[in-house]
């Protein structure tokens, strides 16, 4: 009996899942689908850098700055490195940095918001105070100052962007949590004696999950934009790394020789940023309309 119920449930949930998936795909706007495919391509680049036609770091002075041809689809840069391969290789830093940033920001802000929002009282007030102070500080300026002075580089930039980007996210997440911490089902969970960890993990977290996912994507977008701006200013990744921001900066004065060396990474950068933004926005708006109708 128990067996039958079990399998029955599984089959049902599978059917429900596939149906939900089909429905979701069907209803997905064209833009979001496009954005998704762009991201997918980028992820493939990150996972399989070997698909690049050349070694992205292979320097060959005799082939410097040639235009696109059959060997080098997007030509070469100043040191004769293959631009196309570098754009592919650039996906790693291009996505990894924002990914780390977004993951860390999302995780940290969610945890802080959940704990502060759930506990309320003095903890929450303290968090709120700190956040208010940090909130009005523009992270990029701080990153420029700190990285500029310490010469810290990429990781420092990420940490600074994380610390100073956090308040905005904590603020949003905290607002979401506080609303939900007052929901009857959460209060019911409290009064029925569930542990705080369980309430936070099983009731509050799922309630703000779409929100968290949206924040993740949006932070990701800002991560791309901010980190590439720092790289562009020479404050991010070390020279020589195939990073889109840096490639743009390095090749910008060679526009006349091989424009693709600048344009290709710029296109990649903008496409990825736009894609994550579209997806984040989409999730967020769905979440928001859900929130409203509820």
């Amino acid at each position: 009996m128990a067996e039958a119920v079990h399998t029955g449930r599984r089959r049902m949930s599978f059917a429900a899942l596939s149906q939900a998936l089909r429905k979701a795909l069907w209803r997905t706007p064209f833009m979001v689908a496009t954005a998704g495919s762009v991201l997918a391509v980028a992820v493939i680049w990150v996972l399989f850098p070997a698909i690049a036609p050349h070694d992205a770091d292979l320097i060959d002075g005799s082939r410097s700055l040639i235009g696109p041809d059959s060997g080098h689809w997007l030509g070469t840069d100043q040191l004769g490195r293959d631009v196309f391969s570098r754009v592919i290789d650039g996906a790693r830093t291009g996505l990894l940095g924002p990914l780390i940033l977004a993951a860390a920001t999302t995780a940290a802000s969610t945890v802080i918001a959940l704990v502060a929002g759930y506990l309320g009282g003095r903890v929450d007030a303290m968090t709120g105070r700190i956040i208010e102070v940090l909130y009005s500080v523009p992270p990029t300026i701080v990153a420029i100052v700190v990285v500029g002075v310490t010469g810290g580089g990429w990781w420092t930039a990420i940490v600074v962007l994380l610390v100073f980007g956090l308040p905005a996210n904590v603020r949003l997440a905290r607002a979401a949590v506080i609303v939900r911490a007052r929901l009857p089902y959460v209060e019911a969970a409290r009064t029925s004696g569930l542990s705080g960890v369980r309430i936070i993990g099983c009731h509050l977290l799922p309630a703000i999950t779409p929100f968290v996912v949206a924040v993740f994507f949006l932070t990701f977008t800002y991560g791309i934009v901010d980190l590439s701006a720092l790289s562009f200013l020479g404050l991010g990744v070390p020279p020589g790394a195939a990073d889109w921001g840096r490639m743009i900066a390095e090749n910008r004065s060679n526009l006349f020789q091989n424009a693709w060396a600048t344009v290709a990474p710029a296109i990649a950068l903008v496409l990825i940023a736009v894609s994550t933004n579209i997806i984040g926005d989409w999730i967020y708006s769905r979440y928001e309309s859900h929130g409203r109708s509820r």
């Binding site: 990029t140 700190v146 500029g148 310490t150 791309i224 701006a229 600048t262 933004n277």
Partner: protein, 302 residues
């Protein structure tokens, strides 16, 4: 907050490799020469001593002279602000006005073609890094079309205005996107409110409904966010000024950092911090003026 910022900066520079002595003495300087300069600027004092000394001079509103240019930092700051402030304010106000207009337009045509077009463009605008926008604009309008100078801040007056067109435009593109977004969602939210329907049910003319009921209510969140956007714009300042070779606050900051010009870094950072405080205050004031609920609440408390 200003104190925190200033102290944090002080320690940061104190701990950073290299110092003003190097910048002043040049790469061929001997240890003795650098030592002499360190003595002169008291760079070898304890962090706290230096800081207290600095604070003391701040108290009498003396921000000191720049190590590098020997000018009072306030003079350099004022010169840089002469470029940055008009740039920021123009970009910001144009973007706010345009964003508000676009946002209202697309909100009123929710789901329509205009809305979808605006929303899409806005996403692209918002997620294109500022430097990329700047480069594209330089290339299109500066070089290909040759309409505007791509570099420098001009010789004052109309010429400066011409020089600021492209940098302002670059900032506008990014900010406009954000402003449009905020306006759109604010207006949508207000449109869903009952009092809008109520006003319409009483035959109030659409223009009045739009103005009195929709826009005035949507203005509150917009104004609240407008300050934040102006602040966020400061982050892009360094990039824009660098791409367009402008001698504004951002450039001043980076060059001061490069030379470890402590008084200058402090002055710039404090100015930015003070500007942020001021912006937030103005926003609060504006919201105070706009929203009687806030106003009355404040009266009740005070």
């Amino acid at each position: 907050m200003l104190l925190v910022v200033s102290f944090a900066l002080f320690s940061l520079i104190y701990l950073a490799p290299g110092g003003a002595d190097q910048a002043l003495a040049g790469p061929y300087a001997s240890a003795e020469q650098r030592e002499a300069i360190r003595q002169l600027y008291r760079l070898d004092d304890q962090l706290l001593t230096q800081y207290l000394h600095y604070l003391r001079s701040l108290l009498v509103l003396d921000f000191g002279d720049s190590f590098l240019t020997r000018e009072p930092v306030m003079v350099s700051l004022a010169r840089a602000a002469g470029v940055t402030v008009p740039l920021m304010l123009t970009a910001w106000s144009v973007a706010m006005a345009g964003g508000a207009a676009l946002g209202v337009m697309s909100a009123l045509r929710r789901g329509g073609r205009v809305d979808r077009f605006v929303s899409t463009t806005v996403v692209i605008g918002a997620s294109t890094p500022l430097f990329a926008t700047a480069i594209i604009l330089t290339w299109l309008l500066g070089i290909e079309a040759g309409w505007f100078p791509t570099m420098g801040s001009g010789d004052g007056g109309l010429d400066t205005a011409r020089h600021l067109v492209l940098p302002a435009l670059a900032m506008i593109v990014v900010l406009l996107a954000a402003a449009t977004r905020v306006t759109r969602s604010a207006v949508l939210e207000v449109l869903d409110e009952e009092h809008v329907t109520f006003a319409r049910s009483r035959g109030v003319s659409p223009g009045r409904v739009l103005w009195d009921d929709v826009l005035r209510n949507a203005a509150v969140p917009l104004v609240t966010q407008a300050g934040g956007m102006l602040i966020a714009l400061a982050g892009g300042l360094v990039v824009v000024e660098s791409v367009f070779g402008l001698d504004g606050i951002g450039t001043l900051l980076t060059s001061a950092i490069a030379a470890r010009d402590v008084p200058m870094i402090q002055a710039v950072a404090l100015t930015i911090a003070a500007a942020i405080v001021a912006i937030n205050f103005i926003v609060d004031l504006a919201v105070f003026g706009l929203d009687p609920r806030v106003r009355k609440g404040a009266w009740g408390r005070g």
